[in-house]
């Protein structure tokens, strides 16, 4: 701890703008009749995604009692879906979420996420609403839309439907030295984050992610009949801002994806964490057809104010926390 770093990392002027923006976001949902909820950030279950490490918290019923492990949530997704299955209707949450080890100019282990779910919408119609919110906060009005396949064709001249793993690896190594080997999605992720994202200008929605990167999205087909994920992301000036799905509602498929994540965790030597089986139960009960999206509020503010470091929009960044 550096005791000379007692002051905030953001200016007070920025913090006033931050407060105004949070109020604007709440107003945006209030006039659309989307209910604000406040699900727990501390849960007995952890996210299944092998590449997101949850922070573990020690809970005791009394001081000398045995420790029970709880997990700080990396997104309110699981609990919000349990609410949706319980009949909540359209909901949003704006709260702190936590991700272990993520520190950088655009990452802070504790950050503010805005997540919302809209009944009857799909990934395409939800993109319209994300655009409306971003316009309201930043004034940006032009949004491009490209499928994941179009994006790779346009920026790297690679057709992901036909390129081999070796071709993806070679294309990556042309630009940046990489140690180690990766699977197909590993190389796609590397190309996306190292070679494409830095080239993206303005606001770009990328949709129809590979079926293997569906996470919690439904599968659908593109115009050529190739299976793709009903998942989208929004990038602004190359910064990943939002990630959305036409939500998976099939309990059996959800259970299968949890098991696949746990399997991959075992292969990678990552900790096995308790899975959110209550979500599977909720899906069995019935999740209404809906689309949902998570958006990084701190990054949205960075874009609105032209800041390059996340620390500049947080009262105290991780180094001062």
């Amino acid at each position: 701890m550096n005791i000379d770093h007692w002051q905030p990392s953001a200016t007070l002027e920025t913090l006033k703008k931050r407060a105004a923006m949070l109020a604007q976001i709440r107003h945006f949902f209030s006039i659309r009749n989307v209910l604000e909820v406040d699900v727990p950030v501390l849960s007995q279950a952890a996210v299944s995604d092998p590449y997101i490490d949850s922070l573990t918290v020690e809970y005791r019923s009394f001081t000398e009692d045995a420790v029970q492990h709880y997990y700080l949530q990396s997104s309110p997704e699981y609990a919000m879906k349990r609410l949706l299955a319980a009949g909540s209707g359209c909901i949003y949450q704006m709260s702190k979420v936590f991700r272990n080890g993520e520190v950088g100019s655009k990452h802070n282990p504790e950050f503010t996420m805005l997540e919302w779910y809209r009944l009857g919408m799909d990934d395409q119609t939800l993109m319209d609403e994300v655009a409306a919110l971003v316009t309201c906060i930043t004034g940006i009005e032009k949004f491009k839309r490209l499928s994941y396949r179009q994006l790779f064709l346009h920026y790297l001249k690679i057709d992901i439907n036909t390129a081999s793993v070796a071709q993806l690896a070679a294309r990556m190594r042309e630009q940046i030295e990489v140690s180690g080997e990766y699977d197909r999605d590993g190389w796609l992720n590397l190309l996306m984050s190292h070679c494409i994202e830095p080239q993206l200008q303005g606001a770009v929605f990328v949709y129809h992610y590979p079926a293997s990167q569906a996470a919690l999205a439904k599968l659908t087909s593109d115009r050529d009949g190739v299976p793709v994920a009903a998942r989208f992301e929004l990038f602004i000036e190359g910064v990943e801002l939002a990630n959305g799905y036409h939500e998976l509602t099939d309990a059996a498929e959800q259970s299968r994806r949890f098991a696949a994540d746990q399997q991959l965790r075992a292969e990678l030597g990552l900790p096995q964490r308790p899975q959110e089986l209550r979500l599977v139960k909720a899906l069995e009960q019935g999740l209404p057809d809906c689309a949902g999206v998570a958006l990084g509020v701190d990054r949205l503010l960075m874009l609105a104010l032209g800041k390059t470091q996340i620390a500049e929009v947080l009262p105290f960044d991780f180094s001062r926390a």
Binding site: G101, G104, V178, M192, Q213, A215
Partner: protein, 189 residues
Amino acid sequence: MSYSANQLKNGLKVMIDGDPCSMQQVEFVKPGKGQAFTRVKMRNLLTGRVWERTFKSNESLEGADVMERDMEYLYTDGDMFHFMVPVTFEQYAVEEKAVGDAVKWLKDNTVCIITLWNDRAIVVTPPNFVELEVAETDPGLKGDTAQGGSKPATLSTGAVVRVPLFIEQGEILKIDTRTGEYVSRAAKA
């Protein structure tokens, strides 16, 4: 001392494929879905090569025992260049390869930054500005101080720089070693 890719930061020196390298730009890359990487722009301290490499966040790297010290240039024996640490009088013999382009600006008693790796000198960085005497140049044009135009001048170290037309042989000039350009006449002592 070893570091995980997560701990890399600007200025850190690590061993890459057997060579000491300095981190020049470090960026944490983590898509919402997908693995975390540390993308680094590095400089190989032996070859000077600058390139980009990306590391998995759990990859581990060996730290390089690299330090920088101010040393005074003494002389060359035609083979090695000899430097001395002013406070302790320790002397280091430096290979021509490590001196590199700095040789153009070396005169007796010039204080340079010497990069040591396992106590072996691998890079010589001259001061940003040096003052050197003009050994040879065409006769100066009297009164021509405002007009543009320049001519080559050979300095006492053998370096050739472009100088304004009014500069005479024997004058002391201030040179920016980073660009190799003439700055001004040296202030009179």
